[in-house]
Each structure stands twice: as structure tokens, then as C-alpha cells.
């Protein structure tokens, strides 16, 4: 199989994921888009590893090994991410990213304390995204 097929597929997957991250409003859908992007990278890693190891005399298949790592970390990440989204949803009753704007630079300094407390999960959500 030519390398172009998995590469194009991977690019398409990545672009889809990117679109999802940028355009979706629901936090869960954003997380799913992130997974798409990760898997596009995984696909690339496997494809290029196969492509490169075909020519080499001896190979460790490090690209495929790295893919295993990525999958593991992605699983852990999505677990934490979903937990955060769940917590935010419990607190706020919504998981709409457009409404989670507590870190915005505000001109009124006398914002209530509840906002400052609520800011913590959204920051983590931001880190996750």
C-alpha cells in the first residue's frame, strides 16, 4: 500500500478534529475531536514506521511503540477530561464552552467569590483542551 493513502486519511482525520475543536460548543464533542486529532497522529506514526522499516535492515518499530504510549495517555487524558466536564456540568448545569469564560479579563474587579472558585474547573478544562 502506498504511503499516500494513510497520510491523506490522517490529514483528513486531523482536519476534522481541528474543526471540531474550534467549532463545537459542547465540551464533550470538543474532547471527542481531540481524540480524532490524536488518532490521526497515531495513524501517521504507524504508517511512517511501516514505510521506513521496510527499507531498513533492522528496526525497533519505535513508531508503533510510541503509538501504544499515545493511546494509553489519551485514555488517561479523556478520563480526566470527562470527569472535569462532569464536574463543570454539575456545578453550572451546562457544558457549553462559550459560557465558561471566567478567565476572561474583566474590567470590574469586584467580581463575586463564587466566580473565582468556579474558575478552577474551567481552567483545567482549558488545559485539557
Amino acid at each position: 500500500m502506498h504511503l499516500a493513502y494513510p497520510a491523506v486519511l490522517s490529514a483528513l482525520l486531523f482536519c476534522t478534529g481541528l474543526y471540531g475543536v474550534l467549532a463545537r460548543r459542547n465540551a464533550i464533542l470538543v474532547l471527542m475531536s481531540v481524540e480524532l486529532m490524536l488518532n490521526a497522529v497515531n495513524l501517521n506514526l504507524v504508517a511512517f514506521d511501516v514505510w521506513l522499516s521496510r527499507a531498513a535492515e533492522e528496526t525497533l518499530h519505535s513508531g508503533q511503540a510510541l503509538t501504544l504510549f499515545t493511546i494509553t495517555i489519551a485514555a488517561a487524558e479523556i478520563g480526566i477530561g470527562l470527569a472535569i466536564v462532569l464536574a463543570v456540568h454539575r456545578n453550572r448545569g451546562t457544558a457549553d464552552i462559550d459560557r465558561l469564560r471566567d478567565t476572561a479579563e474583566s474590567h470590574d474587579l469586584d467580581s463575586p467569590d463564587s466566580d473565582a472558585l468556579a474558575a478552577t474547573p474551567s481552567e483545567k478544562a482549558e488545559a485539557t483542551a
Binding site: 481541528l18 475543536v21 474550534l22 467549532a23 464552552i97 462559550d98 465558561l100 469564560r101 471566567d102 478567565t103 476572561a104 479579563e105 478544562a125 482549558e126 483542551a129
Partner: protein
């Protein structure tokens, strides 16, 4: 011990006393009084021993080089001739009297330890000036006196008058000290040494290039220190200090330093005829002006302050006719009776509870309340008015006699004009002096009205000192005019018949005219009530005086004069009284010439700082602030915006990397 060692100890002992007093004042209050009195007393004894050993013979010179300077050397030098020995004894006597008096006067004062230490330091500085044989070392003492006078005049710093007066005393004397310093440098540059002996030998060889310039520069410093016109204005205001300090400043230290300095370096001044005439004019203006001003003052201490200025005028007058023997003779006798006058005035202020003559003249029986002050002050006033046989008569006649000799051409190198100026001004001042002395005596001791309040007996320390000082005021002159010429190695100091008759005549006329004026005005005095007395008459003298000073301006409308129509001075001076009371508006002139421009310059600097410099600083801060506001706008809180920006940045970097890699 050698005479040199003793002489070195004379200024050192009060200095050590001052240091110990300042260190121990708070921890060991019991030692403060002995530490104040004993070192001064010991240095008086040592000064007397030095004087006896020196005995008017050859001058004692000793020097040790302080440090190699590379150019003109500065030596720790002693130069003790008859003048130095006798003036040091005077300083010791007055300082000891003042220290003893102060223990009573500032009995309950909380700041007494620092006060006593500063008086000791003041004494030590004056003794240093007196004994020093090196002009730089002399200058050290000279400047220490300046700073001590600042602290002591401002002793009652709770009152605004004292604060202003201490600043004024410091600034005005400094104004004279700057030219003085330049003059000293010019003198040392010509002579190649700061040693007085070498400078005098240089002058004798005609080695001075610019005698007039140097003499005039030095005169500025002397005028500031010795309160001569036009730098005398600090002295009357310095009356806001405690009375013993006034006695010390006026009698022995500070103001005497200027006259003494000229007496030491008289040949330098004699080298320039112009300087001698300037000195004579300065003395004449000072004498007559201060006599008129003294006649118009209401504060008893301000009368004495103006009289000090006038008597210093006599001394500079004697120097202007190149007779330093007469000048130092008058310095010594004046030191004794002026210290007595001030200390007696302190007792009177304490007893009367006011420093206003107008209030005292409406107070009966003050004479009986303070008999010691009455009798000693009478003696001192007679000495001040130069009535024979009191000491002031002989010393003043020696000054007038010197002026007469200058006129008749017996004195060498003295312009006759200087002689005429000094003689005429001296006679006019003798008239005025007798007049204000008489006025002071009549108003203070012959008041009629309610009885003076009884505050009990004055402390013994205060009254005994008066009698000690009354002895030289009474007898020093008649004894000294025969002895002093040996010490001073100079001309005859005996009074001549012509000037004696003339001087005593005008003094008597002044006294009698004032008495007549007083008789004329005394009847309405009782009808016009006037006067305010201290709120705490039972307190110690220092607090009574502080209250009297603070209440003078609110009670009488000014620190100098009182609106008293029964004042004989007002009758005698007529329309001149208004101007004389404020010192002939010299303060106003200074205000217009110096104070206003300085304040305007300060306003300009303030404007430049606030409006110009600050504008740049604020401008420098404005740009970062605006940038910060702009950057803050990017923080929308929307995660997707951030990711979009991240993507855009990545794309831009990628494109740039590709372009760079392909070399486009």
C-alpha cells in the same frame, strides 16, 4: 605641667565635659550638674594659671603638624599672647557663671542635660578660637560656635519665635562665613601658611598681594559673627533663647570671637587703608543705629541685645583706629557687665513674669522683690553708660582716646577719617547708651501700679553669680587701665581729660534727658492698663521666660515694641520710634532682597519638578500601560479563541520555516 600642656587642657576640659554630659545625660542624671560646672570651672582655673605664667611677656607658641596636606600645612598650634591669656580668663569666668546660674535657671527643664553639654561645647569652641595659633583650627572653633548657637537659641523650640531665631542666627552667620573662608584661603595662599605668627611676619614684610580684598572678605565673617551692620539682625532675634545663653553669646563667646579675630590679625587689616575706613563706617553705623533701636525696644532682653551690638561697635571702632589694646580692654570689661546685665534680666523676667518693659513699668515693688538683681543691675547699667568710676567708663574712654589719637595723627597708618568717624559716632552712642540704660532702669525698677507678684526667693545659684560679676563691673576698669598696657604691649589706655569730660558729659545729658522724659510721661502711665504675665509664675525661670517670649507678640502686637504711650523712648525718638522699633526695616530689606527671591526660586523648582519632570515620568509609564490594556483585551476567556490563535501561529511558523528551508 608645662604651660603648653595646661593651655591645651583649657579648651579640652569643657569639650570632654560636653561629651560626657551628652553620653551620660539620660542614664545618670545625677552627674549632669557636676559635669556641666566642674570642667568649666577647672578650665577657668587653668586659664588663670596660663595667664599668670604668660604674664604679658613673650607669646607662647607651640605647634604640632596635624597631617601633611601637600600644600599649605595645617598645624595644631597654640599662640598665647597677653590678649589670648586675658580673653580666655574672661571666657572662663563668664562661662562658669553661666553654668552655675543655669543650674538654677533651668532647674526643672527636661532638656537641661543637652543644654548644659552644648554650653560646655560652646565654651570649649570659644577657648579654642582664643588660643589657636592656626587659622584653620580657629575656623573649627568658629563654626562649632555657629552650630551651638543654633541649638541653644532654639532651646525653647516649642515657640515659633525660637525656631525662626535659631535658623536666622545660623543662616546669617553662615552668610558671613562663606566670604570669611575664602578670605582665609586667600590669606594663607599669600602667606604660605595658616599659622598666625607666619601670616603676621608676611604682612610685616609687605607680602600680601591683595590686602584690601582679603581684609574685606574677612570682615564679612567678622560682621556676621560679631553682629555688626549689616549682618547684625540675628542678634536681637536670638533673644528668643534662654537668658543664660544670651549672656554667654553676648558677653564672652560668639560675638566676641569676631572682634578678637580682628584684634589678632590687626596688621592684615592695617595693610589696607580702605579696609580700616570700611571698618570705621561699619562701627559707626552699627553704634548709632543700635543705640536708637535699643531706645525703642520693649523686650528687656532686646534692649540689652541692641546694646551689645552697640558696644561691639565700640570695639570695632577701636580696631578701626588700630588700637587693639583698647578694643580688647572694652571686650573684657563689656564681657563682665553684659553677662551681669543678662543674668540680672533673667532674674527680673522670672520675678515679674514678663519680659515687657511696658508691663514692668506698671508693676510696683519689683525692686523690693529682687534686691540682688536691682543693685547689681544698677552697677552694670552705670558701667554700660560709662559713668566713672565703673569699668565701662575706662574701657570706653580708651576707645575714644584711641580715636582722638588717630585724629591728631599720633597713631601710625590710620586714616584720620576713621578717627573722626569713630569719635563722633562714639560720642553720639555714649549719649544714646546712657539714655536707653536710664530708660531700662526707670521702667524696670520704678514702676507704679499693682504690686509685683511674689514668687518667693530667687534660687541662690542665680543671685550669688550676680554679685560675683558685679565686682569686675565695678572695679575692673580702674584697676586694669594701669595694668593692661603691660599685657597688651601697646599704648596707654588711661583716659584723657578731653574725651573723659566730653564722654561723661554726653552720658549725663542722655541720662538726665531720659529722666525728664520719664517724669513727663509717667503720670499717664498709670491710667493706661497694659501687660500680660506668665501663666505659671511658680514654675522655674526658664519656663516663665519661654511663656513670656511666646506671649509677647499676641499681647503687644510684636516681638519688639509695645503700644505704650507712656514710654519715654517714644517721646525722645518721636517719629523715629516706629522705625527704630523694627530695627530700621533691615529685616524687611533682607526679606525683599534675599528671602523673596529664594522663595520664588523654590517655587520655580517645585513647578519644574511637579510639572516638567513628573510629566516625562508619567509619559514614560503611559505607553506600557496602553500596551497592557491592549493585550488584556485578547484574554476573552474563550478557549476556542486561544486554540485558533495557536493554530494561526503554528501555520505562520510552518510557512516561515518552509520558506526559509527552500531559500525563497
Amino acid at each position: 605641667m608645662t604651660t603648653t600642656t595646661l593651655a591645651a587642657l583649657v579648651p579640652l576640659l569643657p569639650f570632654l565635659g560636653a561629651a560626657a554630659g551628652l553620653l551620660l545625660g539620660r542614664t545618670a542624671p545625677g552627674f549632669v550638674r557636676p559635669l556641666a560646672v566642674l570642667p568649666t570651672l577647672a578650665s577657668l582655673v587653668l586659664a588663670a594659671v596660663v595667664a599668670v605664667r604668660q604674664g604679658g611677656g613673650k607669646a607662647i607658641d607651640a605647634a604640632t603638624e596635624l597631617t601633611p596636606t601637600g600644600s599649605v600645612p595645617i598645624d595644631l598650634a597654640l599662640h598665647i599672647d597677653g590678649f589670648a591669656a586675658l580673653v580666655a580668663v574672661l571666657v572662663g569666668v563668664v562661662a562658669t557663671c553661666v553654668q552655675i546660674y543655669s543650674t538654677g535657671y533651668l532647674r526643672d527643664d527636661s532638656r537641661y542635660p543637652s543644654y548644659a553639654a552644648l554650653v560646655s561645647l560652646f565654651t570649649s569652641a570659644m577657648l579654642l578660637v582664643v588660643y589657636s595659633g592656626d587659622l584653620m583650627v580657629l575656623l573649627v572653633g568658629w563654626e562649632i560656635m555657629g552650630i551651638c548657637s543654633y541649638f541653644l537659641v532654639g532651646h525653647y523650640w516649642e515657640t515659633p519665635e525660637a525656631r525662626a531665631a535659631s535658623l536666622k542666627a545660623f543662616l546669617v552667620t553662615k552668610l558671613g562665613d562663606v566670604p570669611f573662608l575664602i578670605g582665609l584661603f586667600a590669606l594663607a595662599a599669600d602667606a604660605g601658611s595658616f599659622r598666625i605668627t607666619r601670616i603676621l611676619s608676611t604682612v610685616a614684610d609687605g607680602g600680601l598681594d591683595q590686602p584690601t580684598l582679603i581684609a574685606l572678605l574677612l570682615l564679612a565673617g567678622v560682621a556676621g559673627k560679631s553682629a555688626q551692620f549689616p549682618l547684625h539682625t540675628w542678634l536681637p532675634d536670638a533673644m528668643a533663647g534662654p537668658t543664660p545663653v544670651s549672656a554667654l553669646i553676648h558677653a564672652a563667646t560668639m560675638v566676641a570671637a569676631g572682634v578678637y579675630f580682628v584684634a589678632r590679625l590687626l596688621p592684615v587689616f592695617e595693610a589696607s587703608q580702605a579696609a580700616m575706613v570700611v571698618l570705621a563706617v561699619m562701627a559707626a553705623v552699627t553704634m548709632t543705629g543700635s543705640g536708637l533701636a535699643a531706645l525703642a525696644q520693649d523686650d528687656i532682653k532686646r534692649v540689652l541685645a541692641y546694646s551689645t551690638i552697640g558696644q561691639l561697635g565700640y570695639m570695632t571702632g577701636a580696631l578701626a583706629v588700630a588700637d587693639r589694646g583698647a578694643a580688647v580692654f572694652h571686650l573684657i570689661s563689656h564681657g563682665a557687665f553684659k553677662a551681669l546685665l543678662f543674668l540680672a534680666a533673667g532674674v527680673i523676667i522670672h520675678a515679674a513674669g514678663t519680659n515687657s518693659l511696658a508691663a514692668m513699668s506698671r508693676m510696683g515693688g519689683l525692686r523690693a522683690r529682687v534686691p540682688d538683681a536691682f543693685w547689681t543691675m544698677t552697677v552694670a547699667l552705670l558701667a554700660l553708660a560709662a559713668i566713672p568710676p565703673f569699668s565701662g567708663f575706662f574701657s570706653k574712654e580708651s576707645v575714644l582716646g584711641a580715636a582722638e589719637q588717630a585724629i591728631t595723627g599720633h597713631a601710625q597708618g590710620v586714616p584720620g577719617a576713621a578717627g573722626w568717624i569713630v569719635l563722633v559716632a562714639g560720642l553720639v552712642t555714649a549719649l544714646l547708651t546712657a539714655a536707653y540704660a536710664m530708660r531700662l532702669w526707670l521702667l524696670a525698677f520704678n514702676g507704679r501700679g499693682t504690686e509685683a507678684p511674689d514668687h518667693g526667693r530667687q534660687p541662690r545659684t542665680m543671685t550669688v553669680v550676680l554679685w560675683v560679676l558685679a565686682v569686675p563691673s565695678l572695679a575692673f576698669g580702674a584697676f586694669a587701665y594701669r595694668v593692661l598696657p603691660d599685657w597688651f604691649g601697646g599704648g596707654d589706655l588711661a583716659p584723657t581729660v578731653a574725651t573723659s569730660v566730653l564722654g561723661t558729659g554726653v552720658s549725663l545729658v542722655g541720662g538726665i534727658v531720659t529722666y525728664a522724659a520719664w517724669r513727663h510721661t509717667t503720670s499717664p502711665a498709670a491710667r493706661i492698663p497694659l501687660g500680660a504675665v506668665a501663666a505659671h509664675p511658680e514654675a522655674d525661670a526658664a519656663q516663665v521666660e519661654a511663656e513670656a517670649i511666646a506671649s509677647h507678640a499676641p499681647a503687644y502686637g510684636g516681638v519688639a515694641a509695645a503700644p505704650d504711650p507712656a514710654d519715654p523712648g517714644r517721646l525722645l525718638l518721636g517719629p523715629l520710634h516706629r522705625h527704630a522699633a523694627v530695627g530700621f526695616h533691615l529685616d524687611g530689606v533682607y526679606r525683599a532682597l534675599f528671602v523673596r527671591p529664594v522663595q520664588a526660586a523654590a517655587g520655580l523648582v517645585r513647578f519644574l519638578d511637579r510639572e516638567v519632570v513628573d510629566t516625562y515620568v508619567r509619559g514614560a509609564g503611559a505607553l506600557p500601560r496602553w500596551l497592557g490594556i491592549a493585550v488584556r483585551r485578547a484574554q476573552t476567556g474563550n478557549v476556542q479563541t486561544y486554540v485558533s490563535a495557536l493554530l494561526a501561529g503554528t501555520v505562520v511558523l510552518a510557512v516561515a520555516a518552509v520558506l526559509f528551508a527552500t531559500g525563497a
